[in-house]
């Protein structure tokens, strides 16, 4: 039996063994508990729990607001990345560093800060109240929190691709008579598209599971502004572990599908741009 070339470096068994052991006890075994616990519910019981009107309303809000927030972030995140890569203006370095704030700022802090801004008596809320626009304590508040959380995902996936763009492409396009907008639309945007979609999907995935920044500003009105993670908390507080777990299964299955999609998108980005990262 021929073996591949002998391993020169030591530590394969030790490091892989430790990796698998640690991964199993921290992630895989506890996660499997969700599926095993749910199996104790019958299928029809499971279906009843995850399709009660209140839970259905929470899916609509969680997925709807997350999609909308990710779409808004795709537009403004692309614009912000563009401005940071293409233009020179004062304060640019500081802004570039602060874009990652939502990654670093604890979600509870973001939640109470946004509430302070957008509550009817808050800095921005009091400006909007005379116009009869209400942001905090309703679905628009959820949207605001999810925009905050998702912004860096789009900026940070698009930015490196923009930085690596060859100026030759745009020069060729211009010399062939294309307007600047046409060049953007037909030359630059197709190159950015995989990264933009990846950023969109990452922002969406994060928003669906987000809890801390949302619950303060949402108002948590049943059937109106309850997000799906809050439904899990509500069930837990009623000691309805099976119910909480059933909703968790729905969220997990959805996250796994999204994770697969994101992996596919990232592979596409690497192929499309020849980046190896």
């Amino acid at each position: 039996m021929s073996r591949p070339a002998a391993r020169v470096l030591p530590g394969f068994n030790l490091t892989l063994g430790y990796t698998l052991f640690y991964l199993s006890i921290i992630v895989l075994v506890p996660l499997s508990a969700v599926f095993i616990k749910t199996a104790s519910l019958g299928l029809s019981q499971f279906w009843d729990v995850v399709t009660t009107p209140r839970v259905l309303a929470s899916y609509r809000l969680s997925f709807g607001a997350s999609l909308l927030a990710a779409a808004i972030n795709a537009v403004f995140g692309l614009m912000l990345a563009w401005v940071l890569v293409r233009y020179r203006f004062p304060g640019k370095k500081l802004i570039d560093a602060l874009v990652d704030l939502p990654f670093a700022l604890p979600t509870a802090v973001a939640g109470i800060a946004l509430t302070a801004l957008y509550a009817p008596n808050g800095w921005l809320g009091s400006l909007l109240a005379p116009l009869d626009i209400k942001i905090a304590f309703g679905p628009p508040g959820v949207l605001v929190a999810l925009i905050f959380i998702g912004l860096p995902f789009v900026v940070r996936t698009v930015q490196p691709i923009l930085e690596d763009l060859d100026t030759e492409l745009e020069e060729a396009s211009a010399s062939l008579g294309a307007q600047r907008w046409q060049t953007f639309r037909h030359v630059i945007l197709p190159i950015l598209l995989p990264a933009l979609l990846t950023g969109f999907a990452l922002a969406f995935a994060r928003a669906v599971g987000e809890y801390g920044s949302v619950i303060f500003i949402a108002g948590n009105i049943p059937m109106v502004s309850e997000i799906t993670p809050l439904m899990i908390i509500t069930k837990l507080e009623q000691y309805d572990y099976a119910g909480a777990t059933a909703i968790a299964v729905v969220m997990l299955v959805f996250s796994f599908l999204l994770l697969l999609a994101i992996n596919g998108l990232q592979a596409w980005t690497e192929k499309a741009t020849g980046r190896n990262r």
Binding site: L16, T19, L31, I112, L117, V208
Partner: protein
């Protein structure tokens, strides 16, 4: 001369685009785009950050300091530091081991393993807390056994640490894996052939190459460990002075309408976030510099 230009370009890639007529826009387009993106940035990122500090100082410095030195706040600070002090080293050793196995060796299922390591990022924090309740809670798998031995995991410190470890699990590994993969294994193999043992090879060959990536991962892991809310909230039980971390303490104060105190504690976490971003930017700068030097 060419060297100076490229160094300048590395400092700001915009020069490359702004200096060519084919890759720049009319000034009104440029400034409109800058104005719109900065307005968006100010509205959604800058203003909330400013709000934290303004609200924290609304009742003056004395009230601010009082909110931070109050016993429950101090015990929340202690617990937050403890959770980070346990979870960061655990995930650091895991990250290094996983990156070594994945980057330096070939084996089947490598892609699956990388995907599984990323898994905690796509799990909602609330679900992350729930899974430990299902395993260690009173009605969970080990619940009866733990009770019989008078041990508490859920609604106690171990549960908080576990939930924190889970949500910060991938940070260091996902920073190191692509970095060590890109560096290959020739240098380590040379060291081993020259007689270095495994530890010496790691310490003197690998570590200097990955130190910035390692630090970067540690900084981000630490920020998340100290700031986690959802997962910790599920397993904590919110016992004042015992199982409250800083973010949970913020929530309690806020729900009791002690807004100035809530924002005072929140401002500590916001400062932590700003320090994290500053260190992160510094590391990125250092990494680019040393990258330039080695080329």
């Amino acid at each position: 001369m060419a060297g100076a230009t490229s160094l300048h370009a590395a400092a700001d890639p915009a020069v490359r685009f702004e200096s060519r007529s084919a890759t720049r826009e009319a000034p009104w387009v440029k400034w409109t785009l800058i104005a719109v993106s900065l307005a968006f940035f100010a509205l959604f990122l800058l203003l909330p950050l400013i709000a934290v500090f303004v609200e924290a100082l609304r009742k003056g410095w004395d009230a601010y300091i009082a909110a931070l030195v109050e016993p429950d706040a101090l015990s929340a600070i202690r617990l937050t530091l403890l959770a980070a002090a346990i979870s960061v080293p655990l995930n650091l050793s895991f990250g290094v081991a996983a990156a070594w196995a994945i980057a330096k060796f070939d084996f089947r299922g490598k892609h699956l393993l990388i995907t599984l390591i990323d898994l905690p990022f796509s799990v909602s924090p609330v679900v992350a807390g729930l899974i430990y309740v299902l395993v260690f809670g009173a009605q969970g798998w080990f619940g009866p056994w733990l009770q019989a031995h008078d041990l508490k995991v859920i609604f106690a410190v171990p549960g908080i640490v576990l939930a924190t470890v889970f949500v910060t699990f991938p940070f260091i590994a996902r920073e190191l894996i692509p970095l060590m993969q890109a560096q290959g294994k020739e240098e380590e193999e040379a060291a081993v052939v020259l007689g270095a043992n495994g530890w010496q090879t790691f310490r003197y060959v690998t570590l200097p190459n990955i130190k910035w990536g390692l630090l970067y991962g540690v900084i981000l892991c630490n920020a998340r460990a100290m700031g986690e809310f959802g997962a910790v909230s599920v397993v904590s039980g919110h016992i004042r002075g015992l199982t409250n971390t800083l973010p949970l303490h913020v929530e309690i104060l806020y729900n009791e309408y002690q807004f100035a105190a809530a924002f005072a504690v929140a401002s500590l976490l916001a400062l932590l976030a700003l320090v994290t971003l500053a260190v992160k930017t510094w590391i990125e700068h250092q990494a680019t510099q040393s990258g330039d030097a080695s080329q």
